[in-house]
């Protein structure tokens, strides 16, 4: 029952409704044309909602027809999801750290943590790559491109 398509359809319905809700709350200005700023969003919201319903129905029909256990296609997805989620957390850690430690330190930490997370070992190579990588990125973005990277509050 809970095949990937069915879940996808449910998410689509949820997204469509949410979008449609805000589309109906959209203010319209006196300068607006006949279609108006809410015209296209309303259309898209309804379209998304109906497509979600169709996808759900399709997947139910399909699973009834084939009688295949839907959960097979989810096998191992949970573990994979958590490993991907871990990487997202590291990226968020960087977002927090960069305002505190400043760019150079934060990017070194990011390089080290991500490499470790993805299976690198503590070694001289890791340190070299993390520090070297940070130096290269700093040289490109700060020195060459003059990007005002966050300097942090500690330094």
């Amino acid at each position: 029952m809970l095949s990937k398509d069915f879940v996808g359809g449910l998410i689509t319905i949820l997204l469509g409704s949410l979008y449609l809700f805000f589309a109906f709350k959209q203010r319209v200005s006196a300068l607006a044309d006949t279609v108006g700023p809410a015209g296209m969003p309303k259309f898209l919201g309804i379209l998304m909602l109906s497509l979600g319903v169709i996808l759900c129905v399709q997947s139910v029909v399909h699973s009834l027809k084939t009688n295949a256990p839907a959960l097979v296609e989810w096998q191992g997805e949970g573990k994979r999801f958590f490993r991907a989620f871990g990487l997202l957390c590291l990226a968020i850690v960087y977002l927090v750290l960069v305002s505190i430690l400043g760019y150079v330190l934060a990017i070194t930490v990011l390089l080290t943590l991500v490499a470790l997370y993805l299976g690198a070992q503590f070694s001289g190579q890791l340190a070299t790559i993390a520090i070297g990588g940070a130096a290269i990125l700093w040289a490109i973005f700060v020195l060459l491109l003059d990007v005002p990277m966050p300097s942090g509050i500690l330094l």
Binding site: K4, G8, L15, P37, M48, L51, A84, L118, I140
Partner: protein
């Protein structure tokens, strides 16, 4: 012919070769960094051109544009990270080829097509300026709308996937495109009071998120390293393949030719439209999305053609059609040159110098592109943990530099999460990107057309270009639907 002959004496002029080479090299660097768009790459050089002699300054900037349009494809192919918006079309097949261990060939095709595109663009610029300028004038709002619809119509023919899922993905892209200031009334939509959202979400954030970030998530989720080692040598297509690439390259040149001259269309739309059409007209459609050389050749030819033809509205009307040409306009203005109809009469020598410079740039592109490739391939053959850590750091740095904004980084990460789930649920990316790129153009020009006609829909029939493009779109949609129906019926019986 006369115009070409006048280029010859200048070709001996070393002083234009140097800025062309430097511009291309700088452009490739900037273009290959995710988030650093061609226009930012050019803008970074702008202050330094003030000191240069006008011709050198203009050639430097224009060559940077050429290099940047090509540079975007390197990370697109090697690390699934589009360096520029326009290069996102090259991710689709380029990265697939890379996964098959054919990165050297993919880069070769991209470079080969990019150089061809640069020459075609220059040819259009020198020989067909007048004609293309008139074409740009003929494109009214209904025609832009129809062009966008034609672009979206390809979604129906993505036959190997569920049509419903393709449509959902497209609507998602269109939805993202509605965020920001309403193109007609000026009221803000879905911004929730965040001023960072007022100008809309920049497509590059979504593209890098969908393609690159989701790939990093996916790789983090799989423990074993499935990569095929790529030999660190760039390979150019052989004769048989070159022949096969002629059609997609012509399509790319065609779209690059006319979309370059249209303000508001530009490289990204040209790349995606030519990818669509190359697929539509290809003998081996099914290969697209699975590592088709044609899928790289078309967009890469298109975006480099644009680097030439987008100069046409600037030189003929004084109108910058894109961010990049707006920077070039700045370059003209600080030297007291005003691009436009009078430029040829008043400072014709600068214009011929520009032509000569672009010629050198196309040649320089070939050699520099060839020289740096082994280094790039060598880099991506590093152990996976280090490589992916570096890619993430690169993306986080590049996206930040667009607006010096941590908020942009969050948007990119959200797009990455969406992309990850789309992959898990097996939704295609191409429709989302098409919706994102074309959504604004479709909506604003649809409403603009209705304003022009006083809410009379017949304006889309009365405008000849619009009628023609819409007819094509309708034929394609019904054609693919009919094909699909026949398949379903056959399978049913």
């Amino acid at each position: 012919m006369d115009t070409i002959l006048t280029l010859l004496p200048d070709s001996l002029n070393f002083y234009l070769v140097l800025p062309a080479i430097l511009g291309v090299a700088w452009g490739i660097i900037g273009g290959s960094l995710p988030g650093i768009s061609p226009s930012i790459t050019m803008a970074l050089l702008l202050p330094f051109t003030y000191a240069l002699e006008p011709s050198m300054a203009i050639v430097l900037l224009a060559s940077t544009y050429v290099g940047a349009e090509y540079g975007g494809s390197i990370p697109a192919i090697l690390i699934r990270t589009p360096g520029t918006n326009a290069a996102a079309a090259s991710v689709l097949d380029g990265y697939e080829m890379n996964l098959q261990g054919k990165a050297g060939l993919a880069l070769g095709i991209s470079l080969y097509s990019g150089v061809i595109g640069s020459f075609v663009g220059l040819f259009f610029l020198v020989m067909l300026s007048q004609l293309l300028a008139e074409l740009a004038l003929a494109f009214t709002p209904p025609a832009y709308f129809a062009l966008g619809i034609l672009g979206l119509s390809v979604i129906v023919s993505l036959s190997d996937q569920s049509l419903v899922k393709g449509l959902i993905a497209a609507v998602l892209g269109l939805m993202i495109a509605t965020i920001g200031t309403d193109p007609v009334s000026g009221i803000s939509r879905f911004t929730f009071g965040v001023s960072g959202l007022l100008p809309g979400i920049q497509p590059i954030l979504i593209m890098v998120g969908l393609f690159a970030m989701s790939e990093l998530f996916k790789q983090a989720s799989i423990l074993e390293d499935l990569r095929v080692k790529t030999s660190p040598r760039i390979r150019f297509p052989e004769k048989k393949l070159r022949k096969r690439l002629i059609l997609p390259q012509s399509i790319g040149a065609l779209f690059g030719g006319f979309e370059g001259v249209m303000p508001g269309a530009g490289g990204t739309i040209a790349s995606f439209m030519s990818y669509n059409e190359a697929r539509r007209w290809s003998k081996s459609k099914d290969e697209f999305g699975k590592g088709s050389p044609e899928g790289i050749a078309a967009p890469e030819t298109a975006n480099n053609t644009v680097a030439g033809t987008s100069l046409i509205p600037l030189l003929s009307f004084g109108i910058p059609g894109s961010n990049s040409t707006a920077i070039l306009l700045g370059g003209f203005l600080v030297h007291g040159l005003i691009p436009g109809p009078m430029l040829f009469a008043r400072s014709g020598d600068v214009v011929t110098d520009l032509y000569a410079g672009l010629f050198f740039a196309a040649i320089a592109l070939f050699f520099i592109g060839y020289a740096i490739m082994p280094v790039c391939i060598w880099l991506v053959n590093k152990p996976r943990p280090y490589l992916n850590a570096f890619i993430l750091a690169l993306i986080m740095s590049g996206i930040y530099s667009i607006n010096n904004s941590l908020f942009d980084l969050s948007i990119m990460l959200v797009a990455g999460v969406i992309g990850y789930f789309m992959r898990v649920m097996k939704f295609p990316f191409l429709p989302t990107v098409l919706g994102l790129v074309l959504g604004f153009m479709i909506e604003s020009n649809f409403r603009r057309s209705l304003l022009l006609s006083g809410d009379d829909l017949s304006i889309f029939m009365d405008d000849k270009i619009s009628l023609m493009l819409l007819t094509f779109a309708v034929i394609f949609v019904f054609g693919s639907l009919a094909k699909r129906l026949i398949q379903v019926l056959r399978a049913g019986t």
